[in-house]
């Protein structure tokens, strides 16, 4: 029936289909729908920047206005991917700039961004509105100055956890006086800022809803800024420090009064440095908070932390440090009945001390907060009994990431592996999409995952499993698996090669310190031309054509529609390239030359 409607009608209907997955599905129905959909698509999500080329993006979606790109694999967050691996945004920005794409929004995660890229970006798209950089690196405040100076209609500049070299320039001062359109500004990952320029900027941007400051913004400056922006919904404080008795401080009194005017704040973060006795100033905000992020606030703990939590009855998302301890988590459980997401980070991840939260805290949370659907929990220990209780209390997990500090640690009470505990979680949370395992685990837990985790999209395995069977349970069972990352587990070529077609249904597979060999990787690369199989060979352990039986330290493979990238550094071997490029010695030629 839909074929009898003019294209405009189809397009109008498609306007209501916003998620990129749904639009992908729409485009598969028939050629007509594919055509209408591709001309009308405005938002494109590319989960792996090496899966497709910018030219093909531009050819298929000439109307794209908002682009999301992701670069390095997830384990790059934990230093497992060497510097210079790749993930450069430059070719994308150049290609988009040359085309007639009217780019308005760019969101990048784990990519290498240069000042030049930012400069080209800022000058090439007149309607550019939003730049979000998450865990990126390679640029300086010069690049930020270009964005500030040239993007006249900028609404959003959101810098999350990037590594930015700070030059002596005043990038914030580069926002022209005519810039009055800002809605969201986050520079918390920087160390310095020009306070005067910041205050003027805030004063002339009345639509500012989200503002995340850095440690250079003092309490005094915060008060003046909040005076200008009582409409804020999302606030990240900087340095919440007072060096005198708050009761004697005019600044503090003014701050308290100013905060009372900020009736819209629902999300609060920051407190990179804090004088706990100043916290009462934010108590009025706590009553309405739905998101509280104290994961960088090492200065708030003990009774002050508890006092704060007790006021946050409407909290839905909480990010904290483990200095909250099990007792503090019990307070969360009795106060935050609407809690959906909890993340507990270690305050001292690499020290010799213990992590202060255990299974007790988690069980308390699960019994007090049945709406919990997203968990990240770094703890000292975990028991099967606790996980089984958590699974029973909270059957709605979408994300469940548990990290026990000691790798492969068993249940301390029974000395058993944690198979049954995690098994209970996957069996009860039928909508689970993301899972990270830790503790002592055998193939059994992987059997449970393959059997029950039907919606699982991303799985992280570390120091787990006993044999290839384990990995196969997952590959065979999890039909919706998109990303699998494995480290230090005994899976080898047999598991890798059993079902090579599976990897084309997934975005990527990472295996490090496992038992896959060079020969196994080569076999896979030869069988599957539409996969890029990369060997990251930092220590020069393997000579390419020798020793097929040698184990590969790090392998990263991903599906792709383009020829293997040409920006890979020397220590990254893309097997497709090495096996298929004419002119490159084939392995038997090499062996005969070197033997």
């Amino acid at each position: 029936m839909m074929n009898y409607f003019p294209d405009e009608v189809l397009e109008h209907v498609f306007d209501f289909v916003t998620s990129h997955r749904d639009r992908n599905a729409v485009s598969l129905v028939c050629k007509l729908w594919y055509r209408v959909e591709r001309f009308s698509r405005q938002r494109v999500f590319i989960g792996n920047c090496y899966a497709i080329s910018p030219e093909r993006l531009i050819a298929r979606f000439p109307g794209v206005k908002a682009l999301t790109l992701k670069g390095k694999p997830h384990f790059a967050d934990f230093n497992l991917v060497p510097q210079d691996w790749g993930g450069y945004v430059q070719p994308w920005i150049e290609a988009l700039a040359r085309s007639r794409i009217g780019l308005e929004e760019l969101r990048l995660k784990r990519m290498v961004v240069s000042d030049e890229s930012l400069d080209v970006l800022s000058r090439s798209f007149t309607n550019f509105k939003s730049l979000v950089l998450v865990s990126c690196e390679g640029f300086t405040t010069d690049g930020l100055a270009a964005i500030a100076a040239n993007c006249w209609f900028l609404r959003e500049l959101d810098l999350q956890e990037n590594e930015i070299e700070e030059k002596k320039n005043d990038w914030l001062g580069c926002f022209p006086d005519s810039c009055t359109s800002l809605v969201s500004l986050n520079f918390a990952c920087l160390k310095e800022v020009n306070l005067a320029a910041l205050e003027r900027l805030v004063a002339r941007n009345p639509n500012l809803k989200s503002l995340k400051l850095n440690g250079a913004v003092t309490l005094e400056a915060l008060q003046r800024i909040l005076m200008r922006a009582p409409q804020l919904v999302d606030l990240g404080t900087g340095s919440f420090v007072l060096d005198r008795d708050p009761n004697d401080s005019e600044t503090y009194k003014k701050l308290r009064a100013t905060i009372l005017q900020c009736r819209s704040i629902r999300n609060l973060s920051g407190f990179l440095k804090v004088t706990p006795r100043c916290l009462p100033a934010i108590y009025p905000i706590c009553l309405n908070l739905t998101y509280l992020n104290l994961s960088y606030a090492a200065g708030i703990h003990g009774s002050e932390l508890i006092k704060l939590i007790r006021l946050c009855g409407k909290l839905q998302r909480l990010w904290i440090l483990d200095c909250i301890e099990d007792k503090g988590l019990e307070v969360v459980a009795s106060t935050c009945k609407d809690l959906q997401e909890l993340r507990v980070f270690p305050s001292d991840p690499f020290g010799a001390g213990h992590t202060a939260v255990t299974e007790t805290g988690l069980v308390a949370i699960s019994s007090g907060c049945p709406k919990l659907n997203s968990l990240l929990y770094l703890c000292q220990q975990m028991t099967n009994a606790a996980l089984i209780a958590v699974a029973k209390n909270c059957p709605n997990f979408i994300r469940f990431r548990l990290c026990i500090r000691d790798p492969a640690k068993p249940d301390p009470v029974t000395m058993q592996p944690l198979d049954e505990g995690f098994g209970a979680i996957v069996q009860s949370s039928k909508r689970l999409r993301r899972l990270s395992l830790s503790g002592l685990l055998t193939d059994r837990v992987l059997l449970y995952i393959g059997k029950y985790a039907e919606q699982l999209e991303m799985l992280s395995i570390a120091f787990a499993g006993e044999s290839d069977k384990g990995m196969l349970y997952v590959l065979n069972g999890c039909k919706k698996l998109r990303k699998l990352e494995i480290r230090d587990s005994p899976f080898g070529d047999m598991a890798l090669l059993r079902d090579v077609g599976k990897y084309e249904t997934m975005r990527s597979l990472w295996m490090s310190s496992c038992d896959v060999t060079l020969g196994g990787c080569k076999t896979l690369a030869k069988k599957m031309p539409r996969l890029n199989v990369e060997i990251i060979n930092e220590n020069d352990q393997i000579k390419f054509a020798h020793e097929d039986s040698q184990k590969v330290e790090k392998m990263y493979l991903y599906r792709t529609l383009v020829w293997p990238r040409d920006d890979a550094p020397e220590f990254v071997w893309t097997l497709e390239k090495l096996l298929f490029t004419p002119g490159v010695l084939l392995e038997d030629q090499w062996s005969s030359l070197t033997n």
Binding site: F75, D77, F78, N79, L80, S135, E161, C189, V241, D243, R244, D245, L272, K273, T275, R277, S295, Y296, A298, G299, L321, F345, P346, S347, D348, P349, F350, G351, A352, L378, C403, R405, D406, P407, A408, K409, P410, M415, P417, S436, L440, T442, S460, A462, F463, G465, E466, R487, D488, S489, P490, S513, C514, D515, K551, E553
Partner: protein, 217 residues
Amino acid sequence: MSPENRNYMPESDVVGLNLKETELTLGMPGETRVTTDTGVKLGTKRGFSETIDLNLGRSNVKCHDKVCDDELENDVLGGATKSLTEKAQLVGWPPVRASRKNVMKSCKFIKVAVDGAPYLRKVDLEMYNSYQQLLSALEDMFSCLTIRNYLNEKKLMDPANGVEYVATYEDRDGDWMLVGDVPWKMFVESCKRVRLMKSSEAIGLAPRTPQKCSSTA
């Protein structure tokens, strides 16, 4: 993983003390401690490497890090503690982003003791930029005290009874020093704890200043 591979030398043989008798093991009261021929003690708590080896059907423990391989050859008692420090060398574990690693480093909490007070307090030296700020904070904390400046020396006094306190600190070498001599940053680096010492005890340490109030306590 057979125990024969381990080099096990009972300590009691080495030093001639009968350490075996006083050794702690897990066992019912009255049970004799049994040591097998290979030197494995029965009834003792298993270390990390032993638990990995439990009947899980593995022919070899999967572990590429050299660290883990070494662990398997440790003797039971040493295994658990050694594994903790060596684990610190595991790359990328625990899975924590670089930006989160230094969260605690930005704090330097030290204990502050005041002579005569029933309990100690803790302050974060990173919170302050000068001695004056620190003393103000101490003044707030121990609310009975006020700062008194004599000849630019920093002292604290309890106006209720006129007892004067001198701020001292223990440095990295374990010596007790007068607060205020070195630049602030250097002080923060080297200070381990602070003690507000009664002036009357600080003979030889505190500068001589005229006592305006005599102690009535």
